[in-house]
Symmetry: C2
Subunit: 337 residues, 2 copies
């Protein structure tokens, strides 16, 4: 109907309609205290009537800051990282922030640096980096970011604000659960050791074994995939002394179950398995998988809160939050033999 719907209304249009200056409109928009209630209502009405929406670019230009949060993450369909990303988007959206995602193919220095710079280009208000390997942390270390930064699953040694899942505690819980079922020791299939996640899970596993005075079997390293879990499983399946295995994630555990099944080793009668992540499918593995569930939503929320705190209060100190995972018992663990 409107012939000249060409340009969307600007603040001055609202101002004219409401009979005030554009600055007053701006004040209403930004909830400034010193506006008479009546004026406020008039402006609000005009905004509604015109369907006015502030131009973020203009605001960003003048304030030098946007309502955009950048996330840097590895481009991956692995459940853990993908969930984290989804949870973060959700949390940020609820807080009224738009989210710009920069996925990187690899987590090396240049990729991370590039993704961060692309975000900086866009004048993001803050940055979340899922940085589970050293190279990612390194890239951030000597980079003048200039905006609030939160890393997820990074290295606690670093200076930046950080949220992590307590990987070691989760691994410890998994290991102790297997020990408590009566197993003499627990084997571990780890993730790539340059991942902090993997390193801490190893540490937790080893710590639990040491505390229990159990023998520490050689570490079996793999990547995070089902395929690598399967390969590891084929080896383990041939060793009768292996009665309990803690896999660094559920994908691996799936591969493991398949390998055991092929070799006629029954889970949990012959060998017990615990995973990590609690993928939605874990309850439908054969058998249902006992696993460790990190609370990705909590991680994301904590990360966002920390970021927002830095946004509001420049002087907010670097901070860290550790989220404890929980053990989910299903049917893949039983006493040995």
């Amino acid at each position: 109907m409107d012939v000249k719907a060409a340009r969307s209304p600007a603040m001055t249009d609202v101002a004219r309609l409401a009979g005030v200056s554009h600055q007053t409109v701006s004040r209403v928009l930004n909830d400034h205290p010193n506006v008479r209630e009546q004026t406020r209502l008039r402006v609000r009405a005009a905004i509604a009537e015109l369907g006015y929406r502030p131009n973020r670019a203009a605001r960003a230009l003048v304030t030098g800051r946007s309502q955009l949060i950048g996330i840097v993450a590895q481009n991956s369909t692995l459940y853990g990282p993908a969930s984290l990303l989804a949870a973060f988007e959700q949390a940020a959206a609820e807080a009224g922030f738009a989210v710009s995602v920069g996925s990187v193919g690899r987590l090396d220095r240049e990729s991370i640096a590039g993704a961060v710079e692309r975000h900086l280009d866009q004048r993001v208000a803050g940055l979340v980096v899922i940085a589970p390997v050293k190279s990612a942390d390194d890239a951030l270390e000597d980079m003048p970011v200039g905006v609030p930064l939160v890393t997820i699953d990074g290295d606690p040694q670093r200076s930046h604000t950080l949220v992590t899942v307590d990987q070691a505690a989760g691994a410890r819980a998994a290991t102790e659960h297997l020990l408590a079922a009566g197993h003499r020791t627990v084997w571990h299939i780890s993730g790539p050791v340059d991942w902090y996640d993997a390193a801490w899970r190893i540490e937790g596993w080893r710590g639990a074994l040491e505390d229990a005075g159990a023998e520490i079997p050689p570490l079996v390293t793999a990547d995070w995939s089902a395929s690598s879990g399967y390969d590891a499983g084929r080896m383990l399946a041939r060793m009768p002394e292996v009665t309990a295995v803690f896999a660094a994630n559920d994908h691996q555990a799936l591969g493991l179950l398949r390998a055991f099944s092929e070799h006629g080793r029954r889970v949990p009668q012959d060998v017990s398995v615990v995973g990590f992540d609690d993928v939605p499918e874990a309850a439908y593995f054969i058998p249902p998988l006992t696993t460790i569930r990190p609370d990705f939503d909590a991680v994301a929320q904590a990360g966002l809160d920390l970021l927002l705190a830095q946004l509001t209060d420049e002087a907010a100190p670097p901070n860290r939050v550790v989220i404890a995972p929980t053990l989910v018992e299903r049917a893949s663990v039983a006493p040995p033999g």
Copy 2:
């Protein structure tokens, strides 16, 4: 070192250093033809020396357009949607676009409309909506978007530019594969019927059955989860006449396998199963799952290309691209009996 690293350099700073006007700098940045080579080099050098990076907000303000592409998708850890999203981010980043993700909790009209509006607020240059249900399409239909729009897995009846996986062809391939193995008919566990994906897979399945003159068993509907696949499986497992099942996705198929396993029905000896999606774990199910693989990267690339075409050429006609999936044979299909 730099005491006043406070403000990042602007175009005028570059201009001053290069001894030209800021407009010339702008021309260099935008690859305008009429700039002397020597000047161009001088400006480039100044840019490099200062580490200058253009302010996107300022550009967006004056041009009314950003280098930002918005994606609207359901917040989900399901493999299909998540892969699509990841693939799209990847493709867009490679094309030099930033990606703003607006995940929505549900795919109803308001959620979609809200997410679209939030993106519009930010002056995205274009919009990609993963709109696999009618309500999503509806929301877009009567919404003056005003920017190029591409829908993924939407309804071909609609007027907007569209990229889809050829769900029906995939379903047909799955069904025919089972028929070719000698099964008299094929049962189907579908996704929620309000999803186009689900509807077309049903159509493909039914079409293949009709063409083969096979009896059409009642449709078993489920959601996309392993859990619902398991529930459906428990029912099917009790029916000896069921020898072949096509599940609408691999998650369901996993639940199905578990149910069959519990009831002592061996796959593939007693019953054959085909899934859809080819999740990375499918090869490690028990048994390895024969499934249909949609090429998510191709979908994302096509979507982006279509969007870019609209961006460059206002008059580009609405277009559609259909990506054909392929059958991946593994070990979950065998002749009956």
